[in-house]
Structure formats: C-alpha cells, structure tokens
Symmetry: C2
Subunit: 468 residues, 2 copies
C-alpha cells in the first residue's frame, strides 16, 4: 500500500479527551439554532426512555451496590456512601423522573433581555441571556446526578460532559445510554451529553480550556479543591461550607435556641449547616447556657473557648451529659468543617469582632446573626463577606429550592458569575446583539465630538426579548 | 539582648506580595460599612490632589518620556508606545481628571436588588449587588490607567492592587502617591489602592487566590495570555480581538462598503476592528469588487482566497493600487490579529459555512453580518457564539461608552461573569440577605411535605433596595 492511497482514507480520530471535548463544542455550536421546544421535548424523551430502561438501570445499580457492599465489608467504603448509591431506595427513582419533568417546566433561562438601548435612531442594542457552552460536571457517588445535570444542561442549552464516581460506574453507564437514546429521537446531537469514566480523562479535559467553558464539581471538599487547583477553566462550586451563627448582644433567647439548633442539627452533613457559634460576651450567663443545654440535648459536642466553657461549667453537675459533650476548643476547630454534631464556640466582645472572626475563618458560604437590633442586623449583613448573610433564620435556608429557583445547580462560594445557591440562571451567560435598521447601516466614524458628528442617544428600550 | 526581649518586640511584617494582598483584603473588608458618599468623596479628593500634584506628576512623566526616547532611539521601543506614555499630550490630562468626576457621577453599581422573594410569612430574601473584593489590575504603558482603575474600584467598593508597565514607573508612582494622599483625607483605608512595581510581585500575587478575587489585565495579547495561563484566580479580559464581517447573499452594496470600511479602518489597532471579511459566493462579481475598491482606496492590504482573488483580478489594470494591495491569503491569516490595515478575505457558499468559520476562527469578541434578510440576521446573531453579534453595524461599536455604560472596565471574551464591553456592573457580584421578622425566627425543620409542615410561599417582593 503506497502512502497516497493510505492518506486518502483517513483513520477515525482516536477516542481521547480532546475528541470528546471537540465533539461537545461542536454539539453546542450546532445546537444554537435549535428551538427551546426541541430541548423540552428531549427532556420528556429522557423521562420516557428512563422508564423504558428501568429494569436494565436498576440491574446495573444492583451490580454497583454489590461491589460497594464488598468494599464496605472490607472497610474500604462507608455505609453512608453505599446508601447514596441505591437508586431504588425510598422514592429516589420517582423523584429522579419527576426532577426531569420539573426542569422541563422551569422558565427558559435563555433569550431574556437584561439591557436594551437605542444607541442612535434605528440602532438598537440588546443584552440577551444565552447558554455558556460546554460544561464539565464531576461528581461522586449519587448516580442520579447524571440525569439531574443532563436535564439542567439541556434545558439551558449547554452541552455537557459528565463524570461520576467509580462506585456508580455501571449505573451511570446505563443512565447515559438511556439519555443518548432519548437524544437520538430529537434534533439535538447525541454528543450533546457525553459521559466519561476515568480520572485520566478528567485530568486531560481540565487542560482543554479552548473547548470547555465551565467546570462544576459536586462532591467532597477534597474533590472540589483538587479540581480548583488543577485547571484554568472557571470552576463553579464550593469546597467548604464553614458557616457560623453569631448571637448578638440583643439576641432573643427563643430565636437563639431555635436558629442555632436548626442550623447545627437539621442535617449536619450538609454544607449549609453551622460549624461555629460566636457569642457576645454579655450573653455568657443568660442566653448561652440555654443554647448549650439545647445543643447538648440534641447530642451536639461543644468545643468551647475559655469564657464560654467557664460560664457553663457550673451547670455540669445538673446536666450529666455536659461531662461527655462539653470540651475545650483548639484553634483548628474554628477552621474545620465538622459535617457532624460538633460545634466550635467562641466568645467575642463586639459585633465588629464577630464580623472579623467570620470573615477570617468562614468559607464565605452562609452566616447568620441572631439579634433584635436593626442596626446590628444591617451591619452584619453588609460587613460579613459571604454569599448569604441571614438575620434570625437558620443557615440551612441557603438552598436553591428554598430560595425558590425550582432547582439547584450547586452552591458557589466564588464571587465571579454566580454566588450562593445557583439556579438554572447560573448556566447562562449573555451576549450583545446590535441591529441597525438605518438605510445605510451604522458606522462609528459618523459619531464624535466635532461639528456635524452624531451624538449617541442611549435611550432605554422596553423589551423582554429580542425582536428579531 | 536575650531571646525573650527580642520576641516581645515583633518585627514588622516584611513588605512582600503576601503583605500587600493581605492588606488589600483587610482594606476591602473594613470598607464594607463605609457609605457610598464617602467613596464618592474620595473620588473628588483624588481629582483635587491630582490638580495639586500636577507639576510633580508631569515632571515624573517627563523622566519616563526621556527614558522611553532613549529606548526608541536604541530601537528597543516603538514610537507608538512612547506616544501613549505622554500624559501632557492633547487633552489627556484634562480627560483623566474629567474621567474621575464622570465615574463619581455614575450610578452606584452596588446595593441593587435583582431578586426578592417572601419565602414564608415574615421571611424575606434579597439578592443584592455588592463589591467583589480585591482586584489585581495589570496594564501596560498608558499611565492614566492608574487613575482610571482606581476611580472605578473605589466607586464600586473594591480594593485594588495596580501594576503598570515599567515604561511608566515614575509617572505611576506619582499618580499613586496622589491617590494615597487623597485617600488619607477620607475614612477609606490607604491600602485600599496599592501600586506595585515589579513583575516578581505580580507573579507572587497571581498565586494568592485566598486574597485576590479578580485579575484584570489590560494590554497586549501576550500580556493577557501570559496572565490567563499563570493563575487560578478568575481573569476578566480578552487576549485577542479577531472580529469578522460577513457579507450575506442579500447584503446591500452601500451598507456593505460602509460597514466593512469602518470596521477595518476606523481604528485598526483596536480590538474591535475587523480582521476578516467573509463573503457569500453570490457577491463575488457584484458587491465584493466595490468593497475591495473601497478598502484598497483606504490603503487596506487584502489577503484573498482563490475565489475572491480571481473575481477582482480583472480589475487590476484599471486600479493600479490593486497590484500592491491585493495578495493571495495563507491559512494563518484567518487566525491572525493584524491590528493594522490588513484584512483576510474568505469566500463561503452558505450562511451556515460563514457561521462555522467564524465560530472556529474568531476570538468570540464581536462579529457582524451585512444582510437585508431578517431570518439571516436572526440566524447569524444566535448561531455565532461571540460576545457581540451585529447586523449592518460596524464591529467598532463594541465599546462600553458606545453601549451607554458611561465607562469601560475592559472587554471580556470569557463567558463567565461579564461578557463583551464591561461597565461598572462588572466589578460587582451579589450576595443573598435573608431576614426573619417572625416572633420565633425561622428554622428549616418546620418546612417539609409531611402533616403540619409549612410550605414555602415564594411570593415575589417588589424592591429595588434592601429595606434593612
């Protein structure tokens, strides 16, 4: 075989991270003219196909669970992790399907005009929301995230590459196959949603900033941190959820007890649970003992600084649990995300000191003040540099569903693009469309400060969508 | 002197990149409660102090210019760069001062509510714009950028660290000194705006993502690219401005000539100038020869593909300039930002092919279609994945002032946070403030799907600012 005949038959591009990323970008670009109705249809097809393939998916899930049980028995996996894998547990399967329908029914985050101005007679500028491009979503354990993220990406018009945890490989493979089958019944490219399996592929993809526009890690602190430190692509997410509740001088006792207990105990493993309790010194013998009593009754381990420890030490004889639940704090406790029934306690002399401690130690996720004082509330909300600053409300409210977004893409502690709980809007960016309707088109050279030069008009246009 | 007495007198922290970054973060955090009026006062003080220090500043500028002249004579610097250094040229000094006043008069980008919802009776959520934190701004040559960026940062409530080009070191130092003197007459910390001098400091700062929240490079392609590749901190800006104009099948001749000539020649060194002309094949013997004639008359060098070259070759005898101005293209011309009177020309068979070429080769900055067809306009604007998609209007309109923002922080080709020309809004992020006005505060445990559980209300609140 001579060289010319061999070169006339190009060999297919090998299946590499670059091939995947290029295919995703091409799928995104080619999808820009596909109407929303087709994207919504894709979501309904996905739900249908998941129902069709239920048996195969749950069988794959069973294989993952068996392998996981093996790992649990060998002490290599926690029972909590194993439980998260089970797609047939409780109403998980049905919620997963319902989630797809819910996303289909959410308002379209794209095509929304947020700024419109007539720059000159017959020259109209529109800033309009549009998809970002290609998302790389990396998550752990829970296999239903494949479906959840695929639905969010399709609804918002973004292509996505998904990588789940190795524990759920079999399940994720079946779920992805069902999604691809569903996509093949629409005009969306099949490569719109792609799944990858290996960490090596993730590492390679994190280098490809020319194709991938946003990385969304959902999982443990170490997963997120590792990704943040290994890519130039923007990352949306949070590594830590180190939230604090501050009991202000004027804190109401009942509110203090309710808000602190809920923030700490409602779901200790969540990122929006409180890890630190900051107390104004004036409360040490009034509100604090009652809060401590309630926390200990809820089985919370308290790691106290000298002042807060000493002020409740006299209670120890009357509350036997105090002996096992109240301990002196070490400095590292104030920068630890316990994710369990453990809380670090700090005494401060002023609101300002509380704000300073929180800004220096919290992960800028969500922090709360309990106060009856409007000025203190206002000062705290502005002075604390976190995505959420709450007054007399549990940190656990920091959540996309509770905020009313209808979904949650994740929670971001970054300050660029999206911050706090992120809804579908967080998967959109915007572009500017400018249209001249003038007889001769519009050119810049006609504008300026000289004689006979045009001046810009900059008259606001009332518009919610682009009229062309 | 014994060890204990020496340790009782802590030596001042050495002046390092980390010290600077920490000081900036502290200045930012401490400034959160300082009202807008004080920030505006700071801007007026800066203008006053610049006027006071005019002589010293212009003398420093003279020293920079002399050193630069030396470099120009030695062939180490371009005369263009030298000209940019001159603070006393034309109305540059006065515009710089006026710019400070203009920024002072712009609307406050912070404190604006973009989402407000009553989650439950007496539980109110507000999403409110706020400063980002610490900006690191790196720029070249033009020393007035120090003042410009300082004004934008102060107005938007961000602390900033500024690094200018080494060519303007003396001027930048005097400008910074004036800014610091002005700040010392306000309650803003002096470390709110800091200037650094060395590249080593920049390299060190680019590592400090715990203190620095956003990097804004303003300068050459290589400067921006180098920064993008050497930091995990989000970068707002653009490396290339590779803009295209597409002449659609239905393009009007006059509009085509005007828009192409303006896009190419109004200011060839600007990032929003067109570098590529894409032509529908049907125009090769109608519109294209006239456009070519106009471009060549404006001294533009045309690098043409075979089809566009052949269709105008018959004109060469009648237009002598064609011999010196029309040349065959090489593929690299389609990915080159010429920044001069040079334009690459490509012939395509369809609108779709034009969109594909632009998506694959442009820098996603600004691209234009010249067309009389509404559907083609709409398809181009949606199908081209760029920050600006224009119809019958010069690419040169892509500019913060022309868009009506009153200022321009830069132009971003990223898709995260801000895209296209960025106004003061681009220096703001948002946070969520949640306030319970309920008698007992609000806890999550009371909400849920069970009996006696509360349901979320999610009733929109009409609000433009936070009422507490």
């Amino acid at each position: 075989m001579d060289a010319s005949s061999s070169s006339s038959l190009p060999s297919p591009e090998p299946y590499t991270a670059k091939t995947i990323a290029k295919a995703a970008k091409a799928a995104f670009e080619n999808s820009q003219l596909i109407p929303l109705s087709e994207r919504v249809k894709a979501l309904h097809e996905i739900r249908k196909e998941l129902e069709n393939a239920k048996e195969a998916i749950l069988e794959a899930n069973k294989r993952d669970l068996e392998a996981a049980q093996h790992d649990v028995d060998a002490g290599r996996m926690s029972i909590t992790l194993l439980k998260r894998l089970d797609l047939n547990k409780g109403d998980k399967w049905d919620s997963m399907l319902q989630g797809v329908t819910d996303v289909a029914n959410l308002p379209d985050p794209t095509g929304v005009v947020s700024y419109a101005s007539e720059l000159d007679d017959e020259l109209e500028l529109y800033r309009v929301s549009c998809p970002i491009g290609v998302l790389l979503v990396i998550f752990e354990a829970r296999p239903e995230v494949v479906v959840n993220i695929a639905a969010l990406a399709i609804k918002s018009g973004n292509a996505a590459i998904l990588k789940g945890g190795k524990e759920s490989t079999e399940t994720a493979r079946q779920l992805s196959a069902a999604i691809q089958t569903a996509l093949s019944r629409t005009s969306l490219p099949r490569t719109y949603i792609q799944a990858i399996q290996t960490r090596a592929e993730v590492s390679a993809l994190l280098e490809l900033d020319q194709y991938i526009d946003l990385v969304i890690p959902r999982g443990s602190n170490s997963l997120v941190r590792n990704i943040q430190h290994n890519t130039r692509i923007p990352v949306m997410g949070h590594a830590d959820g180190l939230c604090a509740v501050y009991l202000d001088e004027s804190a109401d006792l009942e509110k203090a007890v309710r808000v602190v207990v809920d923030s700490k105990t409602d779901y200790p493993a969540a990122c929006n649970s409180a890890e630190t309790l900051v107390i104004h010194r004036s409360l040490l013998h009034t509100v604090w003992p009652e809060v401590a009593r309630a926390l200990v009754a809820a089985d919370v381990q308290l790691l106290c600084d000298a002042a807060s420890l000493s002020s409740i030490s006299s209670l120890t004889p009357s509350i036997p649990k105090f002996t096992s639940h109240v301990h002196p704090v070490t400095p590292s406790a104030y920068i630890t995300e316990h994710l369990s029934l453990t809380m670090a306690v700090l005494t401060v002399d002023t609101l300002h000191a509380a704000i300073q401690h929180i800004n220096a130690h919290s992960s800028h996720h969500t922090d709360c003040i309990v106060t009856e004082n409007e000025l203190a509330a206002s000062t705290f909300c502005r002075g604390v540099d976190s995505a959420g600053t709450f007054v007399n409300a549990s940190t656990r409210f920091a959540d996309g569903f509770r905020y009313g977004f209808g979904t949650e893409v994740g929670i971001s502690t970054g300050r660029i693009h999206a911050r706090g709980p992120v809804g579908l809007e967080g998967l959109a960016t915007y572009k500017y469309m400018l249209r001249s309707k003038g007889d001769k088109g519009h050119v810049v050279a006609e504008f300026g400060s000289g004689d006979g030069k045009k001046k810009f008009k900059h008259a606001p246009i009332e518009a919610t969508s682009v009229p062309f």
